[in-house]
Symmetry: C2
Subunit: 597 residues, 2 copies
Amino acid sequence: MTETPQTEAVQNWLAKLETALGRGDVQAAVDLFGDDCYWRDLVSLTWNITTSEGRQQIADMLAATLAGAKPSNLKIDGEANETDGVVDAWFTFETAAGRGKGLVRLIDGKGWTMMTSLQELKGHELPQGTHRPSGVEHGAFRDRKTWAEARQDELKGLGYETQPYCVIIGGGQGGIALGARLRLLGVPTIIVEKNERPGDSWRKRYKSLCLHDPVWYDHLPYIPFPEHWPVFSPKDKLGDWLEMYTRVMELDYWTKSEAKSARYDEAKGEWEIVVDRDGEEVVLRPKQMVLATGMSGVPNVPDIPGQDVFKGEQQHSSQHPGPDAYAGKKVVVVGSNNSAHDICAALWESGVDVTMVQRSSTHVVKSNTLMELALGALYSEEAVKNGITTDKADLIFASIPYKVLPAIQKAQADETKRRDKDFYDRLEKAGFDVDFGDDETGLFMKYLRRGSGYYIDVGASELVAKGDIKLAKGQVVRLTEDSVVLDDGSELPADLVVYATGYGSMNGWAAKIISQEVADKVGKCWGLGSDTTKDPGPWEGELRNMWKPTQQEALWFHGGNLHQSRHYSQFLSLQIKARMEGIDTPVYGLPEVHHLQ
Amino acid sequence: MTETPQTEAVQNWLAKLETALGRGDVQAAVDLFGDDCYWRDLVSLTWNITTSEGRQQIADMLAATLAGAKPSNLKIDGEANETDGVVDAWFTFETAAGRGKGLVRLIDGKGWTMMTSLQELKGHELPQGTHRPSGVEHGAFRDRKTWAEARQDELKGLGYETQPYCVIIGGGQGGIALGARLRLLGVPTIIVEKNERPGDSWRKRYKSLCLHDPVWYDHLPYIPFPEHWPVFSPKDKLGDWLEMYTRVMELDYWTKSEAKSARYDEAKGEWEIVVDRDGEEVVLRPKQMVLATGMSGVPNVPDIPGQDVFKGEQQHSSQHPGPDAYAGKKVVVVGSNNSAHDICAALWESGVDVTMVQRSSTHVVKSNTLMELALGALYSEEAVKNGITTDKADLIFASIPYKVLPAIQKAQADETKRRDKDFYDRLEKAGFDVDFGDDETGLFMKYLRRGSGYYIDVGASELVAKGDIKLAKGQVVRLTEDSVVLDDGSELPADLVVYATGYGSMNGWAAKIISQEVADKVGKCWGLGSDTTKDPGPWEGELRNMWKPTQQEALWFHGGNLHQSRHYSQFLSLQIKARMEGIDTPVYGLPEVHHLQ
């Protein structure tokens, strides 16, 4: 078979890199890269999630990791492609501990972006396909234990007679996805969840909620949604899916359970977690603890004078039960992001007199536009037809360095502005302040930098434009017995005030469960250090503390949307499994802490 | 692109056939077939499941159906293959009502086997892929109904305020698979199941049971088992899967419910089914009723003198709770097929003194041999790698006329005998009578002809060979107070007698629920009319009454293993949907009834 010139170019480039890496010749390796270059590693070389930017950082990373990681056997996987002068290709490789998959992009024959990811640990491959279990032990044995008996023993004994290696606090999509990965890797794990049933974290949200991300972006590992699944999952339907998933993946999922406290015993190298399991106190002693309590962290409830004299109801958006009880009443919703919009729209649909208080400008993007421009190439029916499986899409997504992302996002945002000009004009005419972020880069950068400040429009913006959802602007200065008073002196009568005022950083959970000291030690979670609103510098180049080692040994943070819960649970699970198996995992590039929250 | 000569040959052949069919020129059409030829149609031309054998039968079928079905647009799908002089190719086609998929095999340029199958009805395509629902109605609407509310309304109202179009009696794998298909086709359906939970029909069987068929053969429609699913599902694990499947497919599944009686009202064209729903009497009035109570029909319990004087326990195999209560006791199992072997082995594993009574010879085949020789090409990890999806495998399987099957099966059986000669020698040495069927064709023909007479060995045969399971041979003539007496006068002491004596024909369920008259009108179910043991002639060429119209209007039988439940539910669901939509469905070739049971 003859190869294309592009494929040949990548093969040659990989061969040279392999030789250089094999010899430990860092200089020869970095000479293969251009001036503008990036190497993002997902736990294959660094036992960390890191992006090395520029030749010097790449050299530092390789110098520190080559001897231990021993990358080898770099082989192009399929043909290379060329788009606008950028040649890209998939490749596979090995390390001392595992097998990996990478994606490289060359410009003028020099490396521009390199992504390496650990896919499996040698000797600990997933029991899938040809490795799947038999299910039955053929033959006849006295005192055979059936699957049901073994499962029952595990459900009864784990956490009592035997200790789990890992405990995940929080059983939403993040805890469930990670739990499934650990299950298949054979890591004994207990998931601690306060709700009655898996999926309740969705079920208990406001009743009209549907996912704002489309189905192709939302799959869980191992059991994808079927082909007839709706584009936007209704929350209760998603709840049912999570519940069945938890069951058939055989997760050890403790419902009605809450971690009351946790303490790391340095000497023993294990956690002591006190769990209230439906009224019973159980002490768990795992080697690893994951906080998967939601990337949104602890709810922010603002402290406003007069909250004690207000005679109506006050709720954080996370506590809002939906509109049913409020028909005919007056509701003021403080905030103008996703939750505020969804809650306002549902209230309006139920005939409630509802006012949204916009305190600062908001990024709004129509759901269809976002799906088409931002996700369409990777996560859509079209992408599926083009052979872009979910795994491939995730890795392509992950292969773009965070430094490079804003330029790509800005082009999408510019196209969004053009395409939906009328829509934005109508919103502004109604007095609603729209922004596209500090540097006009739109939704996804806001999500990565601060996890807030936007609304994906599924209908509420039209109500705002038409004045059906009333709009007020300014800061809330106080509450009276029956109203909300803004800084311009205006008074909004209210039977209910909903604080759609967001959430703190995830390390707030560490403060709550472990201690303020440990929370401060690990520092702020999420955000890239972009030095934009709510994402202070210095530049980190990765999401802080997410899915990777933190300054607190054996403490991990896991969270994000369904996409992130799916994709990054892979790397977190491999890090935990490697530790359980006693594989050497020297962490390269653990960042300093710059912000406490 | 240049085509292979084989592909060109099939294209030409299909073009000629299309022309002939389009002109209604039956003679020209059958002239394209060889002397030895078959056309198996799965409801695309005949609204029936029929095999026309030879040119005359094909001519008769085409003459009767062409004007209504209007087959057209026959297009080869992919490239043709040639194996041992047989050229085969997939093709697509249309009819007046739908779109179909076919598989044709040519020998010397003439048609040998032709399979046509209906895949979808025009205007009633499945809501999948690009047709999937949105899940959310973007925009804001007063009194919007959420998914959860709509689902709740349906669960409460169906069968009370509104009538289902279809009722399925029996919620095992058959009822569930068919229910899922009807759900996606938008046919309001209630499944009536006597057990507490979906999956209980498996859970309640003996505790060591695992499926004897491998995972690739067992998928349900729409949600395949994940890649880590065991090769042989343990029964409780399968039960959990069925339960979650029923839930996420949103089936209207009535548990703790039993059909007490059913009566067809010819004038109204509907059934009146009296259901005991957990103590409440509900009358359902669907247009269609499906008996999916298991292909095995009503349990056969033999009538033996002394059953009234025996002081121990007596059970049919379907009632056997597993070995736990019988350690240290003496058990006699009457019968030597699958259930008998599994029950004996589980009893031996629990330290029970167990004797198997072999009344007639049994076909035994080792599970691994069967998997490799009989299923490997279509249902295995290897097949998946070769691009043979489950759908493709099912259609390939279905494309082989039942008349042709014995020769293929005999070759496999011969190879089995060679390969496992030592095994069979050991069994015979232990006194166990092994057969390979009247014509030495092995397991699958026994399954299709009589649904009994075999054991797929997963370990019990070794116990028989070693004498751990004691073997007795002969007919049971009577029971004493504490023993089973055989026709040679030998006496087997027993605390428990298990009758692993099989089941009657499925029309026994019609007798139980509807009337003996209707059961006799539809006649025996299952079996091909092969004129071999327990499958009396005349030759039918298809399984009697299964998944196709019967002599009783609006009454259908559905059952079989997981493979058949999956594949044939497609054709049964399309037949029911077509009737609901008022599509003309003239049935060709409804067979006469020759046997009452």
